[in-house]
């Protein structure tokens, strides 16, 4: 889209100017930060590890609170994920923290599908963000971001090497989320064993091509500390919410008969390093990586799956909307076809019904005729009978009349005869 009428200097040729006085836009980062403070921050951590390895305890220790958690059983038939959201506040920063724990990870006999619920969960969060982004009327700046920003993978402190379940799971997740492997319950390993263990783990990860999260080195202020920390991966951590008196202080620790393992003592474990890296130094980078790398990858794959491309077969750029339009047309054509089909079906049904009704009507008509005929026949028969009866009656009447006449005649005749007899008798 050439807006050649807009005279623009190309970016490379953008001049730098010096200011003649204080303008005041150096407050821009503050303005931006203030807005973010008003909105609050979101951070989502996913903890993957076997049951009982110390995920919940570590979260409690990390965030200095007691998240409500309950022990899970070892007999879960399938891996599940349990997500809990908390609102934390420190000075004027409000953080909405979501901790997602796996339940039943590594407990099943057949662990081949163990990683799937985790991958599905992560994808679901990406999907719902993508859906929101693709909406026509959307509110991204208000959207509660549930995408997983960091994944703490808890390695069992066997001291030998990674389990195959670990490798398989991490390989499936490394392109979807920032993986930070930690060695759990590190107080069961001695220092020398730990050193060897760490080297073994890192070399196994490298040889299997698992890309774990590297602390970023581009900012000079943190590059140095991040480089050192990168060398200490994976962090060997110990979690505890109980406090033990050491010297004249109460510290978070685990008390054994042979000594006290202090959580925040850097000689005892790497907990402080983990907290420093995860929260104090790189939290924002974790969020950024999730958004610009993992989410973009998901989005690209998903859209390509759906058939959207940036360039069509002739390598000419195809805009999303053109593809969208094409799909829309397809869909409309499909709809039209179905509508036609339905219409035809409807017409057919109507015809059938009509035929049925006509048939019924005809039947009724014929029955009616029949009945009418019967009725007429009966009536005729009745008429006939009536006529006969009438005839009978009239003939009877006639006969009766004739008989009466005869009787009357015979009476008078008898009378006369009697008279005659009487008369004749006198003579």
């Amino acid at each position: 889209m050439a807006s050649s009428d807009v005279a623009r200097q190309p970016d490379k040729g953008v001049r730098s100017l010096s200011l003649a006085g204080h303008v005041g836009f150096d407050s821009l980062p503050d303005q931006l930060v203030n807005k973010s403070i008003c909105q609050g921050f979101c951070f989502n951590i996913l903890c993957i590890g076997e049951t009982g390895i110390g995920k919940s305890t570590l979260m409690d220790t990390l965030f200095n609170t007691n998240f409500e958690n309950f022990e899970s059983s070892h007999f879960e038939p399938q891996v599940k994920l349990r997500a809990q959201t908390y609102d934390l506040q420190e000075s004027n920063v409000r953080l909405r923290l979501t901790v997602v724990n796996t339940v039943g990870f590594g407990d099943q006999m057949n662990k081949q599908e163990s990683y799937q619920p985790v991958v599905d969960y992560i994808d679901r969060q990406f999907e719902s963000y993508l859906q929101e982004e693709l909406k026509i009327k959307r509110s991204l700046h208000n959207y509660h971001d549930s995408r997983v920003h960091a994944c703490l993978y808890f390695i069992s402190p066997s001291g030998h090497s990674l389990k195959s379940l670990d490798l398989v799971t991490m390989k499936k997740l490394d392109s979807k989320v920032n993986i930070i492997p930690v060695i759990a319950k590190a107080d069961t390993i001695s220092k020398s064993e730990l050193h060897k263990f760490k080297i073994k783990i890192m070399s196994e990860l490298v040889s299997n091509g698992v890309q774990i999260y590297q602390f970023p080195l581009d900012d000079e202020t943190v590059a140095k500390v991040n480089t050192t920390m990168n060398g200490h991966l994976p962090f060997a951590v110990v979690g505890s919410t109980e406090e033990v008196a050491v010297g004249n202080k109460m510290v978070k620790a685990r008390q054994y008969p042979w000594g006290v393992v202090q959580v925040e003592n850097e000689n005892h474990c790497d907990f402080v390093k983990l907290r420093e890296m995860l929260i104090c130094v790189n939290m924002e980078d974790l969020r950024e990586q999730t958004h610009t790398r993992h989410y973009e990858l998901y989005r690209r794959c998903k859209l390509e799956e759906l058939g959207f491309k940036d360039t069509d077969s002739e390598c000419k750029p195809v805009s999303l909307q053109q593809t969208y339009e094409a799909k829309r047309q397809e869909f409309l054509v499909e709809l039209q076809k179905r509508e036609d089909e339905m219409r035809q079906m409807f017409v057919q049904r109507v015809k059938d019904k009509e035929a049925e009704l006509k048939e019924a009507e005809r039947e009724l008509q014929s029955r009616f005729e029949q009945l009418k005929r019967l009725h007429a026949e009966e009536k005729a028969a009745l008429e006939e009978k009536k006529r006969l009866l009438d005839d009978d009656q009239s003939s009877f009447g006639k006969r009766k009349a004739a008989a009466q006449l005869l009787q009357a005649q015979s009476l008078t005749a008898n009378g006369k005869k009697d008279k005659d007899r009487k008369n004749s008798g006198f003579m």
């Binding site: 006085g21 407050s27 931006l32 026509i136 907290r275 909307q321």
Partner: protein
């Protein structure tokens, strides 16, 4: 404007241990990241020629950022139609790098017949939204989409002392829904203080009656604090400003000003004009907010409209904005 963040320890159940986690360091982390990536800001100036637009922008940013100074001849002829000319510079202050783009609109309001002279401007603004949208919907997209959208449009009102002109209300009515408009009264040194107050009141009333929502828009106030801050600003707008890039000695100090036979108008003196107020409002407190309103509201409105269009995609032709034939 430096804010101090207090780090208070969170006590955990009666122990003397400092329960500090370090969540609030995210502020520093964020600040560092944004300083590294730098900021973009695009400001457009609209008003007929001679109102001192370029001078004002130069005064605001204390350097020669507007097009007049970027090698264009001072006595150009007025173009026959409205042109859009954008000039970018990188300026730095306190470790903060900003790429400032000033978009000038020569020819606006200068014709005899000014019907529809806002169209090239509206088209330019929409073109920038379109560019951003196209980038955003790509499958493989850039890490940081270059932002050329106009974050703020300074509209210069002629200091007639009477009222707004029809062109003013027409322009602002049409564009206040797609860009943040900040009206300013130009060359305020031609009005006395009383005339200025009256003029401002009249202008404000006219804007209200025409239903023009200038920045900061009432409907986007986040909370009560925001509302009360912004109410104060809205009461004082439009700011009556004077621009100058020349310095003079006043009371032993060097100040930016305009020298006249009857005195020196000090640009940054709040008793003389409201430049300082405009600068504080525009740059020191609301710069980020201007960008956010543009991104979260104006751009989203454009995007929703665009994606809703049926059979959507007639390409936006750039044929209308003509180069003037001088």
């Amino acid at each position: 404007m430096n804010l101090i963040f207090k780090l208070e320890p969170i006590s955990s159940g009666g122990s003397t241990l400092l329960g500090y986690i370090g969540i609030d360091t995210i502020i520093e982390q964020m600040r560092k990241k944004t300083m590294k990536t730098g900021f973009d800001f695009n400001i457009m100036v609209v008003g007929h020629s001679g109102l001192g637009k370029s001078t004002l922008v130069n005064t605001l940013f204390k350097s020669q950022v507007s097009r007049r100074s970027a090698g264009w001849a001072r006595d150009e002829k007025i173009p026959k139609t409205v042109e859009i000319k954008a000039v970018s510079h990188v300026i730095e202050e306190g470790g903060v790098k900003m790429k400032l783009t000033v978009v000038d609109t020569p020819g606006f309001g200068d014709q005899i017949n000014n019907d529809n002279c806002w169209e090239p401007i509206s088209k330019y603004i929409n073109e920038q939204y379109e560019k951003f949208l196209k980038e955003e919907v790509n499958i493989t997209r850039k890490k940081r989409i270059p932002d050329t959208r106009v974050h703020c449009c300074l509209y210069f009102i002629s200091p007639t002392g009477h009222s707004l002109r029809q062109l003013d209300t027409e322009f602002m009515k049409r564009l206040s829904h797609s860009v943040n408009i900040i009206p300013v009264i130009a060359k305020a040194d031609t009005l006395t203080i009383e005339e200025r107050q009256e003029f401002k009141q009249r202008v404000r009333k006219e804007l209200e009656m025409s239903g023009i929502e200038f920045y900061p828009q009432k409907e986007f106030d986040d909370d009560m604090e925001d509302k009360s801050d912004n109410d104060k600003i809205r009461e004082a707008m439009p700011f009556a400003v004077v621009g100058s890039d020349k310095e003079y000695q006043v009371n032993g100090k060097r100040v930016l000003g305009r020298k006249t036979a009857w005195g020196i108008v000090e640009v940054e003196n709040p008793n003389h004009c409201e430049f300082a107020q405009l600068r504080d409002f525009l740059i020191r407190s609301h710069l980020q907010d201007l960008k956010e309103v543009t991104h979260n509201i104006h751009y989203e409105t454009y995007r929703a409209k665009r994606l809703n269009e049926n059979g959507g995609l007639h390409p936006i032709s750039s044929a209308d904005t003509q180069e003037s034939n001088l």
